[in-house]
């Protein structure tokens, strides 16, 4: 039994509850051993293209790989590695830190099918993977991946993809700022909002009234704001269904809109639309109640 620090036995031998890091170290070690095991299996694949990718990508930080058997004689060699994107540091104006930071939360997964020891030569399957929480700012499923022409290889594809992504992530981050500006521009018309998602500005709710009719408006702002306009619903504070749930309008997302307007113009137009529509909403609430 190998008792060095590179063996799981080392961590299991003198198990002690006094060391809270033991379990994590053990898991990381086993994971590392598994990655090494899979790497050896990929090295055993004789296919030329896979061997080329292995040799040119070997030095990439955070590269992982494995072989999966699909069926008799049919395997898939999988590679995965983080993409390194350069961003402006949002705090660089206020301190002496460097003006750019790197983000490596987005990874690329690549699948090369290998049949009978030979890969096809066609484009591999490509997939972007990102943490679930990023979806509020940027959805990797929306990204149109750069084309993979014949004779393309990973070491060339990676920087092309990184440039494309960098641009799209920059736009997504700019969109956060634009959404915040828009929500702040609502203030002169609707006063203090009740609650705003102050992380990514995807949602905002306000309380307003028309005479004695008090109602809420719930806004949802899309990731591609302002190209795609906000949607919203009205909610009454005075009309309830049989179970006490307040009545809600349909979803509005088809009102006049232009992404080129200033935030203040957008807010004005939405105010005008709300001012006009809210009476129709009040009437329809009244109709629903009188039908019961």
């Amino acid at each position: 039994m190998d008792d060095s620090e590179l063996s799981p036995c080392y961590y299991l031998r003198d198990w002690t509850v006094a060391d809270p890091t033991r379990l994590l170290k053990l898991i990381l070690l086993i994971r590392g051993l598994y990655l090494q095991y899979q790497r050896k299996k990929v090295e055993e694949v004789s296919d030329e293209r896979v061997r080329f990718e292995m040799s040119t990508m070997a030095a990439i930080q955070g590269l992982e790989m494995c072989v999966t058997t699909i069926s008799e004689g049919m395997e898939e060699v999988n590679f995965a590695f983080p993409l390194v994107l350069e961003m402006e540091n949002p705090h660089s104006a206020t301190n002496s830190q460097s003006s750019s930071i790197t983000c490596s939360d987005i990874s690329l997964q690549v699948k090369f099918p290998v049949r009978g020891g030979q890969s096809g030569g066609g484009a591999p399957q490509l997939k972007l993977v990102a943490p679930e929480g990023m979806r509020d700012v940027f959805d990797v499923d929306d990204v149109k991946l750069p084309v993979w022409p014949e004779h393309m290889c990973l070491v060339e594809y990676k920087p092309t993809l990184e440039l494309t992504l960098q641009q799209q992530v920059r736009e997504a981050r700019a969109s956060v700022r634009l959404r915040r500006n828009f929500v702040e521009a609502l203030f002169p018309f609707f006063g203090h909002p009740l609650e705003v998602d102050t992380l990514y500005y995807r949602k905002a709710s306000i309380l307003t009234s028309f005479g004695v009719f008090t109602f809420l408006v719930h806004f949802v702002l899309p990731i591609q704001f302002p190209k795609i306009q906000p949607s919203f619903t009205f909610q009454s504070s005075q009309h309830f269904d049989a179970r006490g749930k307040p009545l809600v309008s349909r979803l509005y997302q088809d009102y006049p809109w232009s992404p080129r307007w200033e935030a203040s113009e957008m807010a004005q137009r939405i105010f005008d639309f709300v001012a006009e529509e809210c009476l129709a909403f009040k009437r329809s609430c009244g109709d629903i109640l009188s039908q019961r």
């Binding site: 203030f187 002169p188 203090h192 609650e195």
Partner: protein, 269 residues
Amino acid sequence: MQGEGEAYFSRYGLRGMGHMAEDILFCVDADAEMNVEMKLGTQGKGLCRLDAIKQAIILFVHSKLMVNSQHRFAFATLRNSASWLKRGFSSDIDVIGQVVRGLASSGTYPRCDLSELFRMAAAEAHQSIALNRRLRMVLIYCRSSVPIEVAMQWPDKQRLFTFDALYLHDKPTHENCPQDVYDSLVDALERVSEFESYIFESSSGSARLLFRSMCILLSHPQQRCPQDEFEAPKDISKMLAAAPHNSTSGNLPVPRRETEDNSGVPRPH
């Protein structure tokens, strides 16, 4: 309207305001004064304070979940002291509806000590904080002659939760003291609340006004301004009447003004 808006616009900014999910503890008075009638409802049926409050709480919960489905709710009742009605925060609207509909008044309580309520809230607040949430307590009180006390010494530095209050009461007479009660509530809020607290009082018996106040209480504590600066809900009909050329819509009828009977207690500031 534009000019006035711009002055505030340059001051008002959302950057840096937190947005943690809330655990909201409703503490509802169980005193017999909950049975006092509100103003006649639109269907002509009598509505007592407790019925209106139940509806208002359900309005609040639905609205809060529409704003953000991560918020959760728990319930306590208040006699001489507070006790749990439904411990454990939940966002299950069916369960919450059952709990709220089960609220009832249970007697006349000549005293009210909030020490136990604060202790309960502080204990829950630690758990909320561990979950990256913040606790808020909303007290709904209706006794016109019983100021609240806090018998236990409450450490000044301990501000673990936000504390809001909704106070429904009778009009002041020689036999009651709603002003003293109101002042005692304000004192308690100021001693204990983590973020800006809001308090509403009314003797008007208007359910509509109650619902309106409940909606203002939806406001997220981490994003609040002082209550006397809170500018919502604005009245769209007044804004349009003041500057009709700013609107792109056609002619709107002049809104009928309803005078509110809100001859409640004056504010201390």
